[in-house]
């Protein structure tokens, strides 16, 4: 990351020279033509804006195409290969058959959707959530993160990000001209990491990360990729620091419903003093297993949401109508079932718990060390016990990147390297872990199991 920053510095120096060159050329066209080729003038003209410098790399772009071959068992990218509930698909087909539903709707969120969100979350938060002023519908949880960061983070601000982090947090913060300040979750001393609960945030270490420039902290609970579900106590510790240092909190809770037995999802916005300074992000894609619908939402106080709305109206203006209508129907249906076993919010978690345990067992049998997640649909696994020699792959990448690439090619099994989710300094701590996604058909998990059982066979 430091490397990229210095590249950025060199780039702007070059640009300054080219700009000066260009100006002279304009003033003295005939002389300069001998000195500057049209190529260099054009090159300076077509340079990209500074804000994208160093942001071109992206783990998904790299690994999605590698894993796209249908012969590869794909436990990499986080999307279900199980079908979404039929009533959401039916709702979408129904919505698209209504003329008005194929045209623009309200920019900040389709009325029936924001009302449904207000009902569901009003119940969850135990407070009135104003559908028009305290909710913004966005293009996925991703779009909510973007609107939040663009709306509230300025050049020169610092934003604390807990590692491992969903990889877009860092480039989004940098694109806003702000500085990511990273703090890793650390394994509890002495303990072997067998559960996501074995990772914790050191309060003193976290406290030291706050400065007068800190604008916000981004947390993700349940966490991707570890699967940690932050406890009330841990969230209170973070909240205390937010209040003490008067910072905002961006809470990415897209996996909020996927919490397994013995654990409870706690919304940091419900802790005292936090509603007014927190944006909470949710996702229809993760809630209803329809990642390809790309709908999400930001919930928070009006004085924050209004700035996200400003970003929305200047970026894409409105989200697709029929999809929003269908999600509204899905939410209303499940709102009535909340607390009951056939509510999708709980039935999906139950289904996934079985898959979680199944995958963990498969991995253990194969001699690997899984980290059983408390929530979410990913599992980290320590590949150290496999002792895979990858020295033939060179030295320029972290071990997990090499391992995953090798595994895709040689074993036809795709995962995601965990160092994609951490900064430079934490790479060593995480480079023996890979991330597996288990929201997959049992047959997919079985196929993965077969590959792992036969690992030693060449």
């Amino acid at each position: 990351m430091g490397e990229e920053e210095s590249r950025g510095g060199r780039m702007s120096y070059t640009r300054r020279i080219l700009n000066a060159f260009r100006f002279t050329c304009r003033s003295f066209p005939t002389n300069c033509r001998r000195f500057c080729t049209s190529q260099s003038v054009m090159a300076s003209r077509h340079t990209h804006a500074k804000r994208i410098e160093g942001l071109d790399k992206n783990v998904w772009v790299a690994f999605t195409s590698l894993a796209a071959d249908p012969s590869i068992v794909n436990l990499g990218q986080g999307f279900p290969d199980i079908p979404p509930p039929s009533y959401v698909k039916d709702a979408l087909a129904k919505a698209a058959s209504v003329d008005r539903m194929n045209q623009y709707t309200r920019g900040f969120g389709h009325p029936s959707l924001v009302k449904a969100l207000s009902q569901v979350y009003g119940k969850v938060y135990s407070r009135q959530v104003d559908p028009l002023k305290e909710i913004l519908v966005t293009v996925g949880g991703y779009g909510s993160l973007f609107s939040t960061i663009q709306g509230l983070v300025d050049e020169g601000d610092e934003v604390i990000i807990v590692e491992p982090f969903f990889d877009c947090y860092v480039p989004m913060v940098r694109m806003a001209g702000a500085k990511p300040v990273l703090i890793p979750l650390r394994p509890k001393p002495g303990k072997k990491t067998v559960s996501s609960a074995d990772w914790y945030l050191d309060p003193d270490e976290l406290s030291a990360k706050f400065s007068s420039k800190t604008k916000a902290i981004i947390i993700n609970t349940p966490n991707n990729p570890i699967g940690k579900v932050f406890t009330r106590g841990e969230l209170q510790m973070i909240a205390d620091l937010c209040i003490k240092h008067d910072t905002l909190c961006f809470s990415d809770e897209v996996y909020e419903w996927l919490v397994y037995k013995g654990h409870q999802h706690v919304k940091i916005a419900t802790l005292p003093g936090m509603w007014d300074r927190t944006i909470t992000i949710g996702s229809a894609g993760k809630t209803f297993s329809v990642t390809g619908w790309k709908l999400g939402w930001s919930i928070g106080p009006e004085h924050l949401i209004k700035h996200l709305q400003t970003v929305m109206q200047n970026t894409l203006y409105t989200c697709p109508t029929p999809l929003q209508e269908a999600v509204a129907q899905g939410l209303l249906l499940n709102y009535k079932l909340m607390g009951q076993p056939d509510c999708y919010f709980s039935s999906l978690a139950e289904e996934l718990e079985g898959k979680r345990d199944h995958l963990a067992a498969i991995l253990q049998e194969a001699g690997m060390s899984p980290v059983v997640p408390e929530g979410g649909y990913f599992m980290l696994v320590d590949v150290t016990p496999l002792n895979q020699d990858l020295s033939h792959m060179g030295d320029d990448e972290a071990y997990d990147y090499k391992f995953v690439k090798w595994m895709i090619k040689e074993k036809k099994l795709a995962a995601i390297p965990v160092t994609a989710f951490v900064g430079e300094e934490s790479k060593e701590q995480f480079e023996k872990y890979i991330r597996l996604c288990f929201i997959k058909e049992d047959s997919t998990l079985e196929a993965a199991g077969d590959i792992l059982k036969n690992w030693r066979k060449v």
């Binding site: 942001l55 087909a93 698209a96 709707t105 996925g140 973007f146 509230l152 790309k294 203006y317």
Partner: protein, 444 residues
Amino acid sequence: MGIIRILAPYLTLLRPNLVQNHQLIMARRLYASRTIGVDKNVWVEFTQLAADYKAVNLGQGFPDFSPPQFVQDAFCKAVSGGPQMHQYTRAFGHPRLVKSLAKFFSRVVGHEIDPFEDVLVTVGAYQALFCAFQALIDDGDEVIIVEPFFDCYQPMVLMAGGTAVYVPLRPKGGSSVLSSGDWVLSAEELTSKITPRTKAIIINTPNNPLGKVYKVEELQMIADLCIKHDLLCFSDEVYEWLTYDGAKHVKIASLPGMWERTITVGSAGKTFSATGWKVGWAISSGKLIKHMKIIHQNSVYHCATAAQEAVSHGFDREYELFGTPESYFQQLPAMLHQKRQKLASCLRSVGLQPVMPEGGYFMITDISSVNVDLNDESTKNESYDFRFVKWLIKEKGLATIPVSAFFSPEHSKEFDKYIRFCFVKEDSTLEAAEEILRKWSQKE
């Protein structure tokens, strides 16, 4: 601005009654400075007003009829398709769609378009514009905006740290201005606005709100300047299929020397009368698209899969039927041509002077001959057309959009006697509008 920021914490201490009744959140400013000055939005304001008064809505630009059956069927088919239709697709554009777009537009532009390098699918043309500005406009860059302009261009330039420089289309002097073709860009005026800091020019053809369809020689004039001064060109062509009276839509990217410096923006919403699907695209040289991809992958990343699948089928059908009477790209303008005539004669019959658009969805009308008492105190400080439009919504139940919303602050005063009508509406809607106008003119 800096001084106010420093003083802000002290100001709030001095005036505790301004603190919200829950605890004071952040003595320093909450919002990012890029959101300053871009918070007002004409659509948010007028859409709400039209809804509040249940007005006959010829304001916001969307059809009140349905998309054609074949795309609706394609959408239904996608929805009931395999599980992958509901999960993430390729981030920069669903493979089937980028291939359809590349195939279709290669033939139109006369240039081989690479589906994976030269095309970016976005959430509506709106997001394509956003990616273009964010990827290519930097602090201090100047962007020339031809007026009247679709209102989002200006805040997008601002949010990218750029400076907007305006050049108006002006009605040709002398003859009465009856057609959008009578509004022209002065080459001298345009040249005079170019400085060493000019990075790009943005044009919209067919133009919203005027309906002007730039002729090839007009585009050539712009292209010559782009090449001479090495500018980028953002060409918003969302209404590309909607031209009337034989006017021909020309793609500036197809002119010599322009492919590598032009970003052409298109819209499935406008193409297939499905504005609510929010599928758009940018087509350009891979060298420019690659920068836009970075913005895209750090803002929304993916677009919805099923809608892209449906649009892809729409384009494949149109590729086969291109130029034939069954093509939707023939049928839609033919249908709208008739509605355009209908609205124009209705406006003339009540003494208004419409400017016949050569293309697009909209018609602007000169309202200077209308005598009304705009005595609404609440709109006292607004421009004439804003006041007129609000009065028309409240008093007559007819919604339109004030045209000065599409002009820069420096030129809006010259153009505050025009209002914009959208005619992409069912005949019943147009008839209801006609009824309102007729009753009104009869009273006078």
